[in-house]
């Protein structure tokens, strides 16, 4: 199969490593990793496929497609042309969410979400203290009331009872 979209001449002057070369090779590596993991599972036969059969086929497929993406990606944008202006913020968001996930079952839902919102709206976005406290407090208590109290979802409660 060919990839019509990738055949188009790219408007960007093509120098350096191509983005598709990189992403294609990452897919090949992923396929290799899956094949390696898949060794543990019996493959079986075409008539009686075991637990490893379909993953093996898929991993091989992913490897082939990845290879094609890499090979045909000659005219894609150079890797260096991909800008990451929001990269730092993206990492901060992911780290903060992870921290919130870790804290959730230890200090309870309301406290976690309050701290989480204060961090984003107050520290990152530098909004004035009053709206920060109002939004954070209102959100954490309000959502707990609706989901926890009204809908009876057992949300985590901290050691202090809230």
């Amino acid at each position: 199969m060919t990839a019509p979209a990738e055949q188009q001449p790219s408007p960007v002057a093509s120098t350096g490593i191509k983005s598709d070369l990189v992403s294609g090779l990452v897919l090949v590596a992923l396929a290799g990793y899956i094949l390696w993991l898949n060794q543990k599972f019996p493959v079986g036969s075409l008539a009686d496929p075991g637990p490893g059969y379909v993953p093996m086929l898929l991993a091989i497929g992913l490897g082939l497609v990845g290879l094609l993406v890499a090979v045909m990606g000659g005219r894609s944008r150079p890797l260096a042309a991909i800008r990451w202006p929001e990269g730092t913020r993206a990492v901060i968001i992911l780290v903060a969410c992870t921290a919130a996930g870790l804290a959730l079952e230890y200090i309870g839902y309301r406290l976690t979400i309050f701290a989480f919102l204060v961090f984003f709206i107050g520290v990152i976005e530098r909004k004035p203290p009053l709206p920060v406290v109002l939004v954070s407090g209102g959100f954490s208590l309000g959502s707990y009331y609706i989901i926890g109290d009204v809908l009876h979802v057992p949300l985590p409660v901290g050691p202090w009872g809230f």
């Binding site: 019996p42 009686d48 637990p51 701290a115 107050g122």
Partner: protein
């Protein structure tokens, strides 16, 4: 920066307040973990049980569904919970199968049976073998004869490998020395659907689940895995009567993490004992078509041990599928 300091100060104060004196059990709400999604047997048994225990514990009993991995997620959550009696498990018979299957596959076990202490058995129901009505068989003997004639071409559906519908069928196949094709599905409902559509030949079904289809003539009962005849199916013989010494019950029982103090388990056991005798509970259980089979901890422990041993043996016989 200032904000951080305030937060820490608040945390500190709260931590100090968190250490409170130990009161008589239960001093706060109790959680009952149901390792299956809402609507399943464990859930429909757990809800009336929780409601009635609330009445006698004089504290709220909240149900938390922790479904996943055929019950392993919820079972493991209770097995590894703090043994203070505030976390209970409404476990099904699959509780004993999961660690065995883990052993078979050399997996790090999610939990072991030693990590759970029984409180009480709540209900138990035998499985019943049903076939598609187009099949020209009415008794076990005929089923076996047909299976032998069509060497290995008859099939049965189940709720998944080592699941509650698979285990009794394996017992049957082993006892009758027959071979059937196994078609696992994603649950009890889909397993019956496969049979109703005539895609498979037979399945093991819970008495409540098959009842409307049997009444409508869409399924035919053959034999039950019970010790005695089922009160709702007096015409269906048992395997024991037919000369095969196999029994299989789906049961639901209450567990706490191992190491829960006796003073605490006693309170819970008392609450269940009073609860199961309550007419309110009885009528609820009749409505969901689930027979109460109450056993207090010591009897339940014996029952559980015997059941676990039997199931472990079956798991070993089945071995790894698809090796």
């Amino acid at each position: 920066m200032k904000l951080k300091h305030i937060t820490f100060a608040v945390f500190g104060a709260l931590a100090a307040a968190g250490v409170h004196a130990q009161d008589a059990f239960p001093s706060r709400g109790v959680t009952m973990i149901v390792p299956f999604p809402p609507g399943g047997v464990a859930d429909t048994t757990g809800r009336p049980t929780a409601a009635i225990m609330e009445k006698y514990l004089k504290q709220t009993v909240t149900i938390t569904n922790r479904p996943g991995a055929g019950g392993a997620v919820g079972n493991a959550a209770v097995a590894n919970a703090k043994p203070d009696g505030y976390t209970m498990l409404m476990g099904l018979s699959s509780v004993s199968v999961i660690p065995e299957a883990d052993k078979l596959f050399n997996r790090k076990p999610a939990y072991t049976l030693e990590q759970l202490d029984p409180i009480a058995l709540i209900s138990a129901d035998p499985m019943i073998l049903v076939v598609h009505p187009s099949l020209p068989v009415k008794t076990v003997k005929e089923v076996i004869a047909l299976a032998k004639k069509n060497d290995g071409e008859l099939s049965f559906s189940s709720s998944g490998v080592y699941g509650a519908l698979h285990m009794p069928m394996e017992m049957f196949m082993h006892a009758a020395k027959i071979k059937l094709r196994h078609v696992p599905t994603t649950g009890g409902g889909p397993a019956i659907t496969q049979l109703l559509g005539g895609h498979v030949t037979m399945t093991a079904g819970g008495p409540a689940a098959i009842s409307p289809h049997v009444k409508a003539g869409k399924l035919r009962t053959i034999v039950s895995w019970g010790d005695d005849r089922h009160p709702n199916y007096p015409d269906v013989p048992t395997f024991k009567e037919s000369g095969y010494d196999i029994t299989y019950y789906i049961w639901a029982g209450l567990f706490v993490p191992h190491g829960t103090p006796e003073s605490v388990t006693k309170v819970l056991r008392d609450a269940v004992r009073k609860g199961v005798a309550d007419p309110e509970f009885k009528s609820q259980m009749t409505k969901i078509n689930s027979p109460i089979k109450y056993m207090d901890a010591p009897d339940f422990q014996k029952y559980w041990d015997a059941d676990a041993k039997r199931l472990a043996a079956v798991v070993k016989i089945v071995g790894k599928v698809g090796k």
